[in-house]
Every structure is written in structure tokens, then in C-alpha cells.
Symmetry: C2
Subunit: 227 residues, 2 copies
């Protein structure tokens, strides 16, 4: 596939398209217009056409999009058929929640091993994924082909473990610690899950709405007093 | 506070500024230039000045930013001092991980109650947060002042619980289910944590890098053959 540099905002929308197309598929919808797709996603039709135009021509004038075909295209763009292999480092609450509830395979990623320092976990398996001692991480990475590391260790261990990962060929880290892992311009691909960033952004919108309500109430009161 | 509509991208950067300022504070840095702050965050100084200009004048020409003062301004903008109250619905792995590891109070949010249907959890407390029966959710919302609901129920329950929440005064949902909760144009503020979106976006970048490596290798081979 020929690659052009696509803006991060477009990349962030691709998984949303994928989810919507899966939903349409499930509901037996095999064809959809960019207008209808836009309405369901809160995007304009021209935005949608522009997003897809980064990767080729997927729709047909007057016909719209073939849902399964478009789904397959987007899955391909996201690398879902490349068989990426991932390890999980840290099997605490969040690591455990990921192993238990998150479907790596739905993303085309195979979770091949997990690592922890807790004696009671080492040597066990969870949903067919072996859990090894943290001390084996380095040798495991040297002996196995791994694309992605899921980092779910405690804060204190984040930097040390990241060093082991990057020095042993890991290029991409899915980061569940609340630590900024890399310097700007570092070659490592880091995708942060910062729960607090998400909650705080939402709090902004809650505060904004409250202020709007308060301003509206104040205006109504002023109007009443003038009457 | 007078509010102007600020772009979502700016709102998304505010928590990152906050984290960086906390880190600077911890390291005893009390003053920083927009140039230095930009370098540490991978942003341009003009981007940073522009972001802050949405909310007022925080820096001083030739002096830079006072770190604690800027931190306080941003915390105020994010509504961290408003005492938002949250409930958690669903105390499974992810709900449990949030109660155990996520510091709501660091975001200025108080987690006041949790709800689950599991008999063994109902009536217990976890880190001083009471866990009530799911059937009590509706009456609890009617009797208590709650701003935010954290939704961590299984997929099947997501829509049903959302209906109870929105019909009983919840305006903001922090959504950990992999379900799109609202219609476009719904008044409910929904902040989604879609783990798969995050992983898939990262996979895109991994695939992109692999393609770049492959293209580079192919070019090198062609060059060699020509020699």
C-alpha cells in the first residue's frame, strides 16, 4: 500500500468508522450513503468523503458505500490483518481487566504473553495467555517477535520497564501508566491512555454547561426585574 | 468566568498542560518560558500562547509563566474546584480498577457511591465508597446531587442504564462500555473511553512504520542491484 502522511485527526476517526460499520453489518445494512453515515456519526458527508479520499476511492457516486467492502478497506488501513503480536507488562487490576474483557483479537492483535512480579501469578495462565516473571521480559523479547507492549505497571516501574522494552526492539507502547514515557522526537510510538485527561476534558464541558445555565438564569432574572 | 467556545483540540490539551505543570512543580521549577514548555510537550511556543489566549493572559513577556499560578488557572478552567460528584455504575474488573487505582480526587471529583447487581458486593464499601444495589440507582439519583456517572457495566446493560441516568438528571457520562451511547445532538455530555480505538490508532502507526521500513529496504536493494 502506498502511504501518504495522513493527519492524526483522520487516523483517530478510522476506528469510529470501523465500529459503526460493524454495527451496520450486524443490523444487516449492506449499503450506506455518506449523508446517512454522516448523520449517524455526527459528521458532515463531505468530511467523510474527504477522510476516505486519503486512502483511495471507496464509494460510488449515486450508490454510496458497500458496508462490508468499506469495513475491509478500513481494517486493512489500520493494519488489522498483519497479525501484530503484543505482550502485557503488569497484571494488576487494569492489566487483569484488559486480559479478561478486552478483545485484542477483535483488533487483529494477538496477546502472546504477560509479565508480572507477583509470585502467585508467575507460571499461571489466564485465558490461555501465559504469565511470566518480570525478570524474563528481556530474554523473552530477544527470543520472540513482538510488535506491541501494553504497559500496565505501577508508576514507579514505568520508566525502568520502558527502557527494557525500547532497548529490546519494541517500537510501540500502549501506555496505561499515568507517566509521559518518551521525550519529544523519540522514535518509539506511544499511545497513552490517560484516564484523568479524559475525565478532566469532560469536566470542562460540565463546567461550561453549568456556566451557561447560570448565565441564562441570571438573564431571566434580570428580565423579570425589568418587567 | 466568561466563556467563549473553545475548540475541542484545545480542551484536550489542557489536561496535558496540567500534568506537565504538576511535574514541574514537583521538581521545584517555579517559572517556565513558552519555548521551554513547548519543547517539553512537543508543541510550538506560539501554539501554547494561542491555547492560553482563549482564557486570558497568563504569561508575562520576558518572564514566562509562573508555574503554580498557571497550574491554578488551568485547574479552574477545567472545573476542578467545583466539587463535582460522581457515581460509578458497574464494579467489575474495570470499575474495580478505577475505584482501586484511579484518583478521582486528583481531578477534583468526589466518587460518592457505586452500584452493582452482584450480591456479594452490595452493601459493602471499597476505599470508603459504598456499593449499592443496581435497583437503587434511580432513587439514589432522585435523592442525591450527582454530576457525573462513570459507566462500567457490561455491554448488554449499557443502553438501559444510560436511560435511567439521563432520565434522572445525569448530564455527563464517562463511558467505559464499548457502546456509542447517544444519538448525535443528544444533550448528554458523553466522554468515551474506547480502548479499541486507541489500540487501533496505534496499530495504524505501527503499520505505517513497517511500510516505511519495507519501502526503504526495497529502495536499498534496487540501488544495490544497479551498482
Amino acid at each position: 500500500m502506498k502511504r501518504v502522511k495522513v493527519s492524526n485527526n483522520v487516523i483517530r476517526r478510522l476506528p469510529r468508522y470501523l465500529r459503526k460499520l460493524d454495527e451496520l453489518n450486524e443490523n444487516g445494512v449492506s449499503r450506506i450513503s455518506s449523508k446517512e453515515l454522516g448523520e449517524q456519526l455526527g459528521l458532515t458527508p463531505s468530511q467523510i468523503r474527504q477522510d476516505f479520499s486519503n486512502f483511495g476511492e471507496f464509494g460510488q457516486q449515486g450508490y454510496g458505500y458497500n458496508v462490508p467492502a468499506l469495513r475491509a478497506e478500513i481494517a486493512g488501513i489500520l493494519g488489522m490483518e498483519r497479525g501484530f503480536r503484543a505482550i502485557l507488562v503488569g497484571v494488576g487490576n487494569i492489566g487483569h481487566a484488559l486480559m479478561d474483557n478486552f478483545s485484542f483479537s477483535d483488533c487483529g492483535v494477538e496477546l502472546v504473553a504477560a509479565f508480572d512480579v507477583k509470585e502467585s501469578l508467575i507460571g499461571t495462565e489466564f485465558k490461555s495467555v501465559p504469565i511470566y516473571a518480570g525478570s524474563r521480559l528481556e530474554s523473552y523479547l530477544r527470543e520472540n517477535d513482538v510488535d506491541i507492549a501494553v504497559l500496565a505497571v505501577p508508576k514507579e516501574a514505568a520508566i525502568r520497564v520502558t527502557k527494557i522494552l525500547t532497548e529490546n526492539g519494541i517500537e510501540a507502547i500502549w501506555n496505561f501508566t499515568n507517566i509521559e514515557l518518551t521525550e519529544p522526537n523519540s522514535p518509539t510510538i506511544v499511545e497513552n491512555i490517560h484516564f484523568s485527561d479524559s475525565l478532566l476534558s469532560m469536566c470542562y464541558y460540565v463546567a461550561e454547561r453549568m456556566d451557561e445555565h447560570a448565565a441564562k438564569a441570571a438573564r431571566a432574572e434580570r428580565t423579570e426585574q425589568q418587567d
